[in-house]
Symmetry: C2
Subunit: 366 residues, 2 copies
Amino acid sequence: MAPPERRRRSTQRDIAQRAGVSQATVSLVISGGAASAQIAEPTRRAVLAAAEELGYAANVAARSLKGGRNRLLGLYTFESVFPTDQRDFYYPFLLGVEEETARQGYDLLLFCSDGSASGTARAERSIYAGGTNRLKIADGCVLLGRNVRREELSALVREDFPFVFVGRREVDDGELSYVAADYVSATAGLVAELARLGHRRILYLRAPEDSEPTRDREEGYRRGLAEAGLGADEALIRSLADPADLTVERLKGWIDGLGITALLVEPTEDDRLTGALATMTGTERVRFPEDCSLALLGDPPSWTPESRNWTRFSLPRAQMAGEAVRVLIELLDEEAPAPRHLTVPCVFVPGDSVGPVPAGGGRPGA
Amino acid sequence: MAPPERRRRSTQRDIAQRAGVSQATVSLVISGGAASAQIAEPTRRAVLAAAEELGYAANVAARSLKGGRNRLLGLYTFESVFPTDQRDFYYPFLLGVEEETARQGYDLLLFCSDGSASGTARAERSIYAGGTNRLKIADGCVLLGRNVRREELSALVREDFPFVFVGRREVDDGELSYVAADYVSATAGLVAELARLGHRRILYLRAPEDSEPTRDREEGYRRGLAEAGLGADEALIRSLADPADLTVERLKGWIDGLGITALLVEPTEDDRLTGALATMTGTERVRFPEDCSLALLGDPPSWTPESRNWTRFSLPRAQMAGEAVRVLIELLDEEAPAPRHLTVPCVFVPGDSVGPVPAGGGRPGA
DNA sequence: ACTCCCAGTTAATACGTATTAGCAAGTGCC
DNA sequence: GGCACTTGCTAATACGTATTAACTGGGAGT
């Protein structure tokens, strides 16, 4: 009945002492499990009573130490999370990861420190800051980010550290596990939709960098055209160095010069592209979809209620994140796991920026 | 150059072996600290090199078991985070905690596992669920939540575990550290504002439970009245068992029967109260502020663009969270820390539901 | 030459738990 | 009564780290 001693939590040894048994017995009773069957009923009850009286709570650290696992999953983001436009991007992933992590009975470790000793703001984050792989304090890790450090991914693969990337990524040194959105099908689907509406000349405005998502979108674009019985015109694949270059003049040039009636745009990670689009909409000199249909190949980075409801497809971010956790746990449970690749479908958002071909639109031939 | 053995994390012993020193030396070098000064430079470099080659990362469990630090801060929420209306409440806190944690060079551990073995959804979360206290794995912890388990807080205090509560909380067994919003001043400020507009009879609709925030608001209400030279009429302090009971009829009864011209409402944690208010607004049978002024004593739990812009005060949640982290780190850095209590001011949101006293309003005498 | 000290290193130990091998007492069998 | 076998428990050990006391060789002091 004595209250638990202050300043020190009770241990199995305390219980053992009080119940007049050994620490091992206490462990057997507390942990329950199979081996506990061989404990006599009176003993078990005595132990449980003592534990109750002392307010016993097992020490997780000790337990994990013994088991080699910490029941911790990590979440690492290559970009810093704090710029406001990044938060909206990041949050659904975080929610998905957190929910599934919780469901699996793990806790979630957010690697938010810069790695750099203190204070100094850094744009580039690093896993291996300080010479060691910080991720290792978790049992495994979910990785996220658009600007990935390839060499760090390679190192992780070489180290055989269990991790899953959210998004398709590939490295030279071997295969890594990822959960990716199906950009190919989603893009092909948009092309099909446009073709159904009568569009024949569809410009694909791609990102200048050659990352996996961009490659997938381009593949989807070509596949969509092929499936619609349209030939691919290389002149209709464009990229802009600066999203601000997407001006009304340029667009009119494409419409008149190339005869396009629709535009597929790959959104940038920042607000600049959608900003440029908003500017164009504001000028009234070009209207979507009256003058030209437009669809986004993904989510605009931040979404405010007053922003326009572009036709697009949307990544099921929370779902992807959840799948990533599930895959990661599979990896952890296996002896010698093979890399896993999972693809989840995107969601089509009808929006209001796609319509039929404008009356005079479309160049006859070509 | 040999790669680390598959699926087994390298330990200090591995490093020791490779560098030809003892495990103790490795620990001294790795932990850095004061005692590491006495290690000869060549030795230190050999150890660090070996650690690098083996991809060493300290084992969190072992370190916390030993009582060491992991540069990990925990974040624990008493309510589950996933119901959508909870997310909006939770997210600003999370952001604040994460940002400040990062700035301090710590990583953030989200205690999201239910504690219950798996899968089963539970409304009540518990720190000690499953007979363990998971928090210990972090160096210290920020706690959050409206439905607090007092006995668990007490246990934490007794255990002398470093933690900071976001929100004013008190327990019998001793003092705990918290960072709280200044409900007293904020409520008094609203009363002052109403008094300035000529309101003399202001009803305070409080939550039925007697939690700290409610007590503080009531104190602020009384103080505000006193400072405005108004006496407190106990009949003007009401509570409703069910928020849905806040009907037009009841409100009209208060206006006509009690002669009130303004209403201070303590929002509930769920959407029911603001739902009731929205319903009232919709009926057109009572208009705010034409028939009666209304202000919320805090943020409505979820905020959608179409919801009304109630006059209210708002908690600086991210800031509170950041302060909590800062306080926690202070606690960690001290030898025998005294509990700290920090109060941050709320933000007045003018809104559109407060106005001057209606023409015929206000009972003359009373 | 003796002690004394000091820098540099290590052996030993503790943290709290899970697990395995093994011990003691009891039961049934021949 | 000796043997095998079961039941119920304990002793011992390992997990990986931090810390402290103890040890070593060598240089300085007397």
